[in-house]
C-alpha cells in the first residue's frame, strides 16, 4: 500500500475515532441522566452519584481515546503526509489537526465549565477539518480530476 493510500485509510480511521468520542461521551451523559428519569425528577445525592459512577467507565474510554489513541493516530497521519511527499501545505494542514487537538486538551485543563464547553465546538471543527483533509487527499479518486491546485501540482511531480 502506498503512503497516499495509507494516509487516506488513517484519515478515515481518525474520523471514526472522533465519532467514537461523541458516541462515548453521549452514552456517559445519558447514563448519568438516568438518575433523573422516571417518577422521581429530584433524585437523592446517592442516586445521582451512583449514576455518575455508572457513567464514569464510559467517560474514561472517552478520555483514553482522546489522550492516547487520537494523538497517536494524528502523529501517524502527519508522518504519512511526509512519507507520501504531499505538498507542505497539506502536511501543514495535517499538523494543524495536532494543534486543534492540543487546544482540545487545553480547554479541558481550563476547568471552567462555561469555557471548557467550547471543547464540544472545537471537536466539531476537528471532525470537519479531518473530513475535509481526508476527502481532498483521497487516494482512490479517479486520476486526472485533482480536487485542488496543490494536488494538481503534486500530481505533476510524480
Amino acid at each position: 500500500m502506498s503512503f497516499r493510500k495509507a494516509y487516506s485509510v488513517v484519515g478515515a480511521l481518525l474520523i471514526f475515532e472522533y465519532l467514537a468520542q461523541f458516541y462515548l461521551i453521549a452514552t456517559a451523559i445519558f447514563t448519568v441522566g438516568q438518575a433523573f428519569d422516571g417518577p422521581d425528577s429530584h433524585p437523592s445525592s446517592t442516586a445521582i452519584y451512583t449514576a455518575f459512577k455508572n457513567g464514569d467507565p464510559i467517560a474514561s474510554l472517552h478520555v483514553f481515546n482522546g489522550y492516547y489513541i487520537i494523538p497517536i493516530t494524528t502523529l501517524v497521519l502527519i508522518g504519512l503526509s511526509f512519507g507520501a511527499r504531499y505538498p507542505w501545505k497539506t502536511t501543514g494542514l495535517t499538523a494543524l489537526l495536532a494543534m486543534l487537538l492540543l487546544l482540545q486538551m487545553a480547554l479541558v485543563w481550563v476547568a471552567i465549565p462555561m469555557v471548557t464547553a467550547l471543547h464540544a465546538l472545537n471537536a466539531i471543527v476537528l471532525v470537519a477539518f479531518a473530513g475535509w483533509l481526508t476527502w481532498t487527499n483521497w487516494a482512490w479518486r479517479t486520476p486526472g480530476v485533482p480536487v485542488n491546485a496543490d494536488q494538481a501540482a503534486s500530481a505533476a511531480h510524480i
Binding site: F22, G33, V108
Partner: protein
C-alpha cells in the same frame, strides 16, 4: 418577493446551524459541570443539580426552538419556489430531527448505548445544515448559482429569483 424569501431561507439556515451548535455547547457545559466536580457524592450531586439550567436550555432548544426553525425553513422553501428536490432536502432536516428525538427517548428509556448515537446524529445534523446553507446561499456570487439551478428546472414549475 421571491428574492426576499430566498435570502430569508439563507439567514434562517444560518440561524438553525447556530442553534444546533448551541446544543453541543449546552450539553458540554452540563457534562463538564459534573465531571469537573470533586469526586464525592455531595459535590457531584450539587454540580448535577446546579447545572440543570444547561439541561433545560438543551431540552428547550432541541424540542421547541430547532423544530420550529426547521418548519419555518420548510415554509420558506415553498415560498421561495425552490425545486421539490430542495424542499425535500430541507425536509430531510426534519427527518434527522425525528431520529434525534427517538434517540433521546431511548436515553430516557435506559438504553444509553443506543442513545449515544444522539451525538453522532447531532453531528450529521450540523454537517447537513452546513451543506444546505452552502447549497442554497442566496447572497453574493452564490446567489447566481442558486438562481441558475432553479432556472434550469423551470420546466418543473420553478421560477428563478
Amino acid at each position: 418577493m421571491l428574492n426576499f424569501s430566498r435570502k430569508a431561507y439563507s439567514v434562517i439556515s444560518v440561524l438553525l446551524l447556530a442553534e444546533i451548535l448551541a446544543q453541543f455547547y449546552f450539553i458540554a457545559a452540563l457534562a463538564f459541570s459534573i465531571w469537573l466536580a470533586d469526586d464525592n457524592e455531595k459535590s457531584v450531586a450539587k454540580a448535577a443539580n446546579d447545572s440543570g439550567m444547561f439541561a433545560g436550555f438543551h431540552a428547550l432548544n432541541g424540542s421547541l426552538v430547532i423544530p420550529v426553525t426547521i418548519l419555518v425553513l420548510l415554509g420558506l422553501s415553498f415560498a421561495s419556489r425552490y425545486s421539490w428536490r430542495t424542499t425535500g432536502l430541507t425536509a430531510v432536516l426534519a427527518g434527522l430531527m425525528i431520529v434525534q428525538f427517538l434517540l433521546a427517548v431511548a436515553g430516557l428509556s435506559k438504553l444509553a448505548f443506543v442513545a449515544g448515537f444522539h451525538a453522532v446524529n447531532g453531528l450529521a445534523l450540523v454537517g447537513y445544515a452546513a451543506w444546505m446553507i452552502r447549497r442554497n446561499w442566496a447572497f453574493g456570487r452564490n446567489a447566481l448559482a442558486t438562481s441558475a439551478r432553479a432556472a434550469g428546472r423551470v420546466m418543473t414549475g420553478e421560477q428563478p429569483a
